[in-house]
Symmetry: C2
Subunit: 241 residues, 2 copies
């Protein structure tokens, strides 16, 4: 422990637990992005032994004076340059033998980020790469399991909470959103039904502009009305798609 850590924690007092074991605590981040019709994952080449050079999630040890979720935020900011992003704890991996490097517990977090909305230089400096989920390589340690668990959580969540907006640009079209959901659930959806249900929640603001990147005709852009959504949510409304 560093001196500054001790000061921040105000650890003048006794360590009441000193007869027990201490363990390394890490956090690993499952970073989802969406681009080009595909759900992607940001991974990089592990620098730390053991398994250095292997594709891996991005993670870090938790410092003695650091909240676990802040450790995850720190990692994400270091890599992407983004300080405000959607981040949730997913699950904790605590088997004694999960890390051959030493006993180390990992509190996994998953993040949703808009691809292109981050500092590309930072990402490149870290040897990071956006992999399409479908052809993800074998990752270090138990990271593949972390990804599949997080994906299951994402799927469940996407059904009941408007997290899709975290993965699309601020202005997006209905067909884009549909493609996102199709990527998350790996199945096709009916465009009429999808549009109907999405708009039925009345939390989208239709803009004048069109996005012509997807077709000659162009599709109207929308914005998510987060104030209205918060209102609805507080009065017991349940987003569902």
């Amino acid at each position: 422990m560093t001196l500054s850590s001790a000061k921040k924690m105000n650890l003048q007092h006794k360590d009441f637990y000193s007869k027990n074991d201490k363990i390394y605590v890490a956090t690993d981040c499952i970073i989802f992005g969406f681009d080009d019709g595909d759900l992607k994952l940001l991974i990089f080449k592990r620098k730390q032994e053991p398994d250095a050079g292997i594709w891996s999630l991005i993670g870090s040890f938790v410092k003695l004076d650091e909240d676990v979720n802040n450790a995850a935020r720190r990692v994400l900011e270091e890599i992407t340059g983004l300080s405000e992003l959607y981040l949730e704890q997913s699950k904790t991996y605590g088997n004694a033998d999960r890390d051959p490097g030493y006993r180390c517990l990992s509190v996994a977090h998953y993040a949703l980020i808009r691809i292109g909305d981050y500092d590309k230089k930072l990402v490149e400096e870290h040897g990071a790469y956006w992999y399409t989920l479908k052809d993800l390589p074998t990752l270090a340690l138990d990271h593949n399991k972390m990804v599949s668990d997080a994906l299951a959580i994402l799927r469940r969540k996407a059904r009941y909470e408007p997290i899709g907006f975290e993965l699309l640009p601020e202005k997006f079209t209905i067909p884009q959103m549909q493609k996102l959901y199709e990527a998350i659930y790996q199945r096709e959806l009916d465009p009429r039904n999808f549009r109907k249900k999405l708009l039925s929640h009345k939390v989208l603001i239709k803009l004048e502009e069109k996005d012509k990147s997807g077709s000659k005709r162009g599709a109207f852009l929308y914005r998510f009305d987060s104030e209205k959504y918060e209102e609805l949510r507080e009065s017991g409304y349940n987003f569902e798609i």
Copy 2:
């Protein structure tokens, strides 16, 4: 670290992470039970300083050579004498200042147990007590938050998985099950609709016997057909109530 710990982990090799901080890791158990129409929680008087004597969840430190989920099982068995029970990880609490005793992370687990199905002596020896959820006292550290988080998870889960059976005796009546769901959701349910939906899954076996404790007429007892449920589940069926 004890010698036996070192042997079990086979830690002949280098500690690759030695320049990082280590942290105490604990697990705390949110133990739900159901009795007398009420959802209850098993808590006890904390023995460890700080906060010794305060009502608290049951927990323990995780040993260096111990899986986190096994630590939770160990705690539950020590208290209740039950080795086989429904146990799930709920959430990890990792704020730097959450425990004034020292930096300590807690991986919370929740368990569902049938009240009366455990060794009462063991429980009494530990100064434990079944508290009705509604009038739960203030608990040590962040344990009240742990309880409310776990309750939220339980509610979500009860809707889509047949966890009700974990909280009732092996033989139970439909009205008992309804009371359980009413306790979980804190609202009244229509007995006709509830019965219809519950039986529609075809995973209950109606017995000849009646339970007369609840009324003069008596209610038929049922058993959960877990083999059939597993079959259904494997072929993609989704329990929902």
